[in-house]
Subunit: 186 residues, 2 copies
DNA sequence: GTCTATAGATCGATAGAC
DNA sequence: GTCTATCGATCTATAGAC
């Protein structure tokens, strides 16, 4: 793996576990094993690093959603895959997904970063809307209301569940918050 | 109002709009109109300030929930009051409530602060559980599942809705995320 | 209780050798 | 592309006069 990717990987982990404002190039230097000045060669400013992180994350998460779609026969299976993906990102309660971390620190970011963050949320809402529409058609999700309203509610639910679970450092909170929704897929 | 309260008020606003790590005693000094060194007289360390903020917020929010309970005749009315309270805290999309801000920055806090934060979440979950139980009895909330599961889901939903709305700087996102739940109270 | 002054650390970022 | 060295700004916190 080249240095740029290693920097992005370590930076993403630091953002997700500590927050964007709470880690420094010194932390990143220690994690990757090169000097602070060398990081600036790859990402001249921290704003450049933030943009690279969110662009990569949005693309990767789009791939993840595509993979869930392909292997899920029903809308309910898709929704369970989505809940599982956010659950895995919690790392047992020691991190949140990058979008939650970025949403929480939105004051620190430039407009291009905020635009990507908004795009990430819109991507997720579109995918969820299709998922609920499918689940309503095939009967694999119970009591489906307006799909776009279900999508907006589900996006907020999983991000809030991550936040609450992370605050307590306990992944049980995520399961408790998402339990009713998961039950609707059985 | 005495200086200590003025400091807490300004600090709370700064935390909710920028995040705990992203404001400094210099910002607080400018907001309140006394010198940085004078702030240390009231709150020797920033950790002391954090604890005072969350303790006060937990107590105030408990009062708010009590007031909602007293003026609400049904479980549904209580739930609408809860959704309204979190909506008002958004300040049009320019801030989040203190618990969301603290949850997001949990790495910056000492154990006593995290214990208060957890207490805040437990208080809210207990109140919501009673609210859903009441709404199920009096028929003012539709399709109520297990009250404690409804409570955990609702807490995560409103915190996530705040996060998404704040990220976009648009309170419409809060209304979109909470619309289905609100509909269940009609 | 508020002030001036400053300590000591850390921050993001840059210059220039190799 | 990575390094040493360093800059100027900012951070939390303290000392001591008033």
């Amino acid at each position: 793996m080249d240095t740029r990717d290693a920097l992005l990987d370590s930076a993403e982990q630091l953002v997700r576990s500590r927050g964007f404002d709470a880690f420094s190039y010194a932390d990143l230097s220690a994690a990757v094993g090169i000097r602070k000045a060398s990081i600036h060669h790859h990402f001249p400013t921290k704003a450049d690093l933030a943009l690279a992180l969110i662009v990569r994350y949005r693309a990767q998460f789009g791939d993840t959603l595509g993979a869930i779609s392909r292997k899920s026969a029903t809308g309910g299976a898709r929704l369970r895959g989505y809940l599982d993906a956010y659950r895995a990102a919690l790392q047992g309660g020691r991190a949140v997904c990058l979008c939650v971390a970025f949403s929480a620190g939105r004051e620190s970011f430039s407009d291009p970063v905020l635009a990507e963050l908004d795009g990430f949320h819109r991507d997720g809402a579109v995918w969820l809307r299709e998922t609920f529409a499918k689940g309503r058609e095939d009967g694999s999700i119970k009591a489906v209301g307006e799909p776009s309203a279900e999508a907006d509610a589900t996006l907020a639910l999983v991000e809030g569940a991550q936040l609450v679970a992370r605050a307590a450092g306990d992944i049980e909170r995520y399961d408790a918050a998402t339990g009713l929704l998961r039950q609707r897929t059985r």
